[in-house]
């Protein structure tokens, strides 16, 4: 487990790093510019040699810093995790220095964060979408992206030309997420057809 000495020592060496309230594992705030130095130190000097996760958070359009990157490291010697929060510069076109050269595992995680949040990882060797298709115009995990999705052209032009199909938003009405706000509540409940009687509609015999 990580003790207080470790934390004090670490904070003493980095003036760009500060501790934040944490419940499960040591959580640090780190300036974007110092992230590479901090990770190198943690990997080489403090045995945090396994990067288990790298992800991003969207704090909402009105937030002062909209996007931040969160990194989880694990040390087999300390048998504990460290979590590092780091804010992304520029809310409109966020960017962050790639840490792929320090932890190769970050390669795909950064691609995923780029795909889902639109964060540009500078100096990433192969920054392109990983879960959505190339050329997809939106960033789905941003808070302003609707759950149902947005109508988008089909990724295959040749198929789209023939079928005139597009990628449509998912039908949500009556599903587990939303109930209709128009009319009686019982109209919008997910029910099998033969049971959907209401005050106006009599129960079928």
């Amino acid at each position: 487990m990580i003790d207080n000495d470790f934390t004090e020592n670490l904070l003493g060496q980095f003036d760009t790093v500060s501790k934040r309230h944490h419940e499960d594992c040591l959580t640090l705030d780190c300036k974007e510019s110092a992230i590479s130095k901090l990770l190198l130190h943690l990997r080489d000097e403090e045995t945090f040699d396994l990067m288990v996760d790298l992800t991003a958070i969207d704090h909402g359009e009105s937030a002062e810093v909209r996007f931040s990157v969160v990194i989880h490291l694990y040390s087999r010697i300390h048998r504990d995790y460290i979590r590092i929060h780091s804010p992304c510069a520029d809310n409109d076109s966020p960017s962050f220095p790639s840490v792929e050269s320090i932890y190769p595992a970050a390669n795909w995680h950064e691609r995923e964060a780029y795909d889902m949040f639109g964060i540009e990882f500078t100096d990433h060797p192969n920054l392109k979408r990983i879960l959505m298709w190339d050329g997809y115009p939106y960033y789905p995990l941003r808070k302003d992206f609707p759950l149902a999705g947005i109508e988008t052209p089909l990724p295959a032009d040749d198929v789209a030309d023939v079928t005139e199909a597009s990628v449509d938003p998912a039908p949500m009405m009556g599903g587990p997420f939303v109930a209709s706000t128009n009319g009686a509540m019982s109209d919008s409940e997910p029910r099998a057809k033969d049971e959907s009687w209401t005050e106006e509609l009599e129960k079928p015999q």
């Binding site: 996760d53 958070i57 087999r76 595992a105 795909w108 992206f145 997420f177």
Partner: protein
Amino acid sequence: MSTETVEINVGDVGARGAEAINQNESQKMALNVGPSHPTTHGVLRLMMDLDGDVITRCEPVLGYLHRGDEKIAENMTYNQFVPYTDRLDYLSPLANNVAYAIAVERIAGIELPERCEAIRVLVCELARISSHLLGMGVFGMDAGAWTPFMYTFTEREKLYTLFEELTGARFTTSYTRIGGVARDVPEGWLERVTHFCDNLPKAIDELEKLLTRNRIFIDRTEGIGEVSKEDALAYGFTGPNLRASGIDLDLRKDKPYSGYEKYDFDVPIGTRGDCYDRYLVRIEEVRQSLRIVKQVIDNFPSGLWYAEDARKIFAPPKEKIMSSMEELIQNFMIVTEGPQIPAGEVYFEAENPKGALGFYVISKGGGVPYRLKIRAPSFCNLSILEKMAPGHMLSDITVILGSLDFVMGECDR
């Protein structure tokens, strides 16, 4: 002498993979495998360049099974998300259920009674056995041995019958709730698990007779897909794949959860980190899981199977809802608003059959998570493919993929 570039498509709509052809290197052949191909165990697509029979470039393309689970999680209450965890690693849904429930319980600060923890350990280990049985069976198949698959599938089928009895479903179990499990173990179920566990070693021995000392199998797997200790760590390997490379990281030992520290078991590790080692590690893990299951059943605690102090989180028993006002209101609140979880952030990883399955939950209070990141072991285990595959023969790629034992449902989320 110059050879013309030839385009071969394996799989169905994979035709577009040929875009990747590099016209300047006419000696090489572009080969597209997948996304729908028996080798790729789901919908993984590989774009490869071949020089004769040797792979010179291998680029995995993911996302064909992307369903946006993390987005969905931000829009539903904590308990509603449990069925979605079934569909991550759909070969061990019970272990996913448990990992997710523990992550949320850590935020909510819920202490579980012993019986509940024991049930969870039991189902996790049974899930591990079923996942490894399938993993080893199809691995044999990938290496050209059909029969072992039939042996392991028969055993796995027996397990699914047990799962059905416990949870009501064979595959999509949705067994845990925040603060407990859906229901107690049925009457006589533990005896039937014991009976299964008594007979399983025989089947494993048979599997070993077919594979472990099989000359053809060894020739196809030994020294293939070697991953060094350093690479395994750098690329974020976890689970049996990491241990096969010789690193003894097992979260059940190193960061015990759900009472794993009470059980006595060994962690097998490999030496070379090749496909054969990954197979051996899985075989041994099944035997160790059986040990844990036996210990759980021998000391099965009595008591409640849900946390009673989590009144605002765990729905009250059905009988009480029907007869008592207080419980009815409580049930109504939990169903409509979801269990109220305090603000905070927690990262929890569980040692799943495929590796460390992590849930990073950020709560701002209320019944819905603000952000839920799923750290999928299959996703991390696959990222090494770009580095590992080049230099191998084309026929080795099936064995390598089989030995990594990934599930695309979890990889793409």
